[in-house]
């Protein structure tokens, strides 16, 4: 095994471990923190099924964002849907014999990558040129967009301009996931692409990217509007019987 391969095998396992463990830790923390009160933002669904529907609309079509700002929605949605399709098509690297639907997905792969990249560039521009978002943005907001755009660009270059042998890529990835490491392809653009992806994996659980899991824990969106019908219990709240009442609490006054 080459030094390059050894380095990337270690890098891959570290990145994947940090991503999975970090993500799970953050989700566990969201989950275990109690919600003392009903703070759903109304009008809210009055049933569990309704909440699922509300969540699907939020996650699937970014409903609140659409209500708010169609420009941010458009570019944000382009980026996310492009990313989603690009991820789907990457599944083919994880199967020795891919299921047929992946082949189908790969037919729009060029659009997926381009849509994602275009969305990212426009999000970057918006952040910079709108005085309100320029004011709130911090360096990491820009760096993250650059990182994602670099991943998308290097991926597009590999696919359409470079001579990377995708069979060796697949062998390398299958080797990683089956704990039987294979030689790392030495094509430069691929090395750049996968290095950035692993960097993203490592940064992910520490960053605002946790909105991906966190949105499901948002009390204003995930609570059922039924406080009059079903008593919501605060796990750390005192029972009414144990509350001290002011001294003049009596109905017969002098």
């Amino acid at each position: 095994m080459s030094g390059l391969t050894i380095f990337f095998v270690i890098y891959a396992y570290v990145a994947i471990a940090v991503f999975i463990l970090g993500f799970l830790y953050r989700i566990w923390k969201f989950g275990k923190t109690p919600a003392p009160l009903k703070i759903d933002q109304t009008p809210a669904p009055t049933s569990d099924g309704g909440v699922v529907g509300r969540m699907i609309l939020e996650v699937g079509v970014f409903k609140s964002l659409l209500k708010s700002n169609r420009i941010i929605w458009l570019f944000g949605y382009m980026f996310h849907i492009g990313l989603f399709l690009a991820l789907l098509k990457h599944f083919r690297f994880f199967f020795a014999y891919g299921p047929g639907w992946i082949a189908y997905i790969t037919t729009f792969e060029i659009y997926a990558g381009l849509i994602m990249l275009f969305g990212l560039i426009m999000l970057f521009v918006l952040r910079l040129v709108v005085d309100r978002t320029a004011f709130i943005s911090v360096m990491n907001d820009y760096l993250l967009l650059i990182l994602l755009a670099a991943i998308a660009s290097s991926g597009l270059i590999i696919k359409h301009f470079s001579r990377t042998n995708l069979t060796t890529v697949k062998e390398f990835i299958l080797g990683i996931v089956s704990f039987n490491p294979q030689e790392m392809p030495s094509e430069v653009m691929f090395i750049i692409h996968i290095s950035l992806v692993f960097l993203l994996f490592i940064y992910f659980p520490f960053s605002k990217l946790m909105h991906s899991g966190g949105v499901f824990f948002s009390p204003t969106r995930n609570q059922v509007d039924n406080p009059r019908d079903r008593r919501w219990v605060n796990p750390w709240g005192k029972a009414p019987e144990n509350i001290e009442i002011a001294s003049n609490m009596t109905q017969d006054e002098g």
């Binding site: 109304t42 941010i72 520490f206 009442i245």
Partner: protein
């Protein structure tokens, strides 16, 4: 010039940390000098004016008030450490805080949604920028990203300047949750500002208005400090007024054990104008429905400012008076008067904090517990149990301002959105000429009056007048278009706020009133068919 410089230098010498944070030695705002923006009917997204509101600080609570609330009397010496410790504690108690500090991506969706930003142009009144004041500190002390990247990740040490910004800008948020409607993750700035205020109280810098009111509420039972004797006397004289005006013996009973209904209403209803007109409306409705009802002299406040300072303990303690009144007066039903944040606490929090509100307290299960007065009155109208003569309000062209807490944190009736439909249905039952304001300014998108969340204090009248701007533009537009001349409300704070800011915008304050003020005028008193 030289003299002024000397005075400034002298002042600087004696400034304590507390003075710097709360702006205590700065010249006070003169309410008469506050000018309203021009009314055009349009709500424009302004360009940023950095620091525009930096000096608008509310008065700090006196040491004796803070101590009566169980807080340190003044800013503690180790405030940085103590504040960080308190934040750490709150992070383990509130999922909202933990999740919302973590998941904001600064997309900008909320940046043009806050009335205080739209009115003041100060970028730190953009919801995300306001929340970032706390998020910075969270990042610095609690996150790996903040510890490694520091300011690149937007992390910052809690220093005196930042604490001063907390004090300024977390008291320019009315916790109305308009931003949350438009956030892709539902991030609720109210939760963040409540946490920030709770932290500030815990290190000894509280807001005067809210804390003073809470001390009165805890000691006497209402925000005004009106004792039971005074309350009874006021209700008796109100009965006489109604008798004189309408010739009907409408009662306003206090402390009637065994009455069917216990009415919990904001204490402003007992004497303030136009609030009392709605109280008379409730009394006439109960009278005509022939139902026995009572007020409580010790639970004589629906409002509960404990929410504004984010204190679960104070909110629960204040609410306990109501549970105690239920136990002593043994009503079958619990009805809440016109008040926004009070309805939120009653609807969404009472059952948790002082419940279960069920037959174990003697309440009948077939009625909503608690029930909003609009739900109750509309039901009577629809069943024909009371009659409203719409023509009595023909001089009135009303529009309805959805109160933020009612619109976005509660419901009326059985269906989502009932909190929008029921008040409108009730106005339409009492009037012929209802008109609606611009659809981007009503229902879940309603603007706050500008005085909610504990901001109803005159030293920040500039904040309040600017915060009211979007609503005033929408009202101005409907006045121009349809001749609207009555601004119907179901919130004591909205009523007080608009009575104050309408004249600033050149609109007579007589146009402000409650829905039950319209009901009071339209209701047909006397023998039923």
């Amino acid at each position: 010039m030289a003299e002024t410089a000397d005075t400034a230098a002298e002042q600087e010498e004696v400034l304590t940390d507390q003075d710097i944070v709360t702006g205590a030695k700065e010249p006070s705002l003169k309410p008469a000098d506050v000018k309203a923006p021009e009314l055009t009917g349009d709500i424009q997204i302004p360009h940023l004016v950095k620091g525009a509101m930096a000096k608008s600080k509310c008065h700090a609570a006196k040491p004796e008030t803070m101590e009566a609330m169980g807080f340190p009397g003044r800013l503690v010496d180790n405030w940085e450490e103590a504040a960080v410790k308190k934040l750490g504690e709150l992070l383990t108690k509130y999922k909202s805080l933990q999740v919302y500090l973590d998941i904001c991506v600064r997309c900008g969706s909320c940046t043009d949604k806050c009335q205080f930003f739209l009115g003041s142009k100060d970028p730190k009144n953009m919801p995300v920028a306001r929340a970032d004041l706390l998020r910075k500190v969270y990042k610095k002390y609690f996150t790996t990203e903040g510890k490694i990247f520091g300011s690149l990740a937007g992390a910052a040490k809690l220093d005196l300047e930042l604490l001063g910004e907390w004090y300024t800008y977390f008291h320019q948020c009315s916790q109305c949750r308009r931003c949350s409607v438009f956030c892709p993750y539902g991030i609720d700035t109210a939760e963040i500002s409540m946490a920030a205020r709770e932290i500030m109280d815990s290190i000894g810098i509280g807001q005067k208005y809210v804390n003073t009111v809470l001390v009165k509420l805890h000691e006497i039972g209402n925000n005004l400090g009106m004792n039971p004797k005074a309350l009874k006397a006021t209700m008796e004289s109100t009965e006489e007024d109604i008798q004189e005006e309408d010739g009907v013996a409408v009662k306003l009973p206090v402390d009637q054990v065994g009455a069917e209904v216990l009415l919990i209403t904001p204490s402003a209803d007992f004497f303030a104008t136009p609030h009392i007109e709605s109280l008379i409306g409730y009394a006439k409705v109960f009278h005509q429905a022939g139902i026995s009802w009572t007020l409580s002299s010790t639970a004589s406040e629906a409002g509960n400012f404990g929410m504004f300072i984010g204190s679960y303990e104070h909110m629960q303690k204040a609410a306990m008076r109501i549970r105690k009144a239920i136990e002593e007066l043994k009503p079958k039903r619990l009805i809440v008067g016109e008040c926004g944040h009070a309805w939120r606490i009653a609807y969404a929090f009472w059952n948790t904090m002082i419940g279960p509100l069920d037959n174990s307290l003697g309440l009948k299960l077939e009625y909503p517990r608690p029930q909003h007065i609009c739900e109750y009155t509309l039901d009577l109208v629809e069943r024909g149990a009371i009659k409203l003569d719409k023509s009595a309000n023909d001089d009135v062209i009303p529009t309805f301002h959805d109160s933020c807490n009612v619109a976005r944190a509660t419901r009326m009736g059985d269906r989502p959105g009932g909190q929008f439909e029921i008040p409108r249905a009730l106005i339409n039952a009492a009037c012929n000429r209802y008109v609606e304001m611009d659809s981007d300014t009503i229902k879940e998108k309603t603007f706050c009056c500008g005085g909610g969340g504990g901001l109803l204090s005159d030293e920040i009248l500039d904040v309040r007048v600017q915060g009211a701007m979007p609503r005033m533009q929408a009202y101005h537009a409907i006045k121009e278009e349809n001749g609207a001349n009555f601004f119907a409300l179901i919130c004591a704070i909205c009523k007080a706020q608009f009575t104050k800011v309408f004249p600033k915008y050149g609109i007579p304050m007589i146009e402000v009133g409650g829905i039950h003020q319209l009901v009071a005028k339209a209701i047909e008193l006397g023998a039923k068919e």
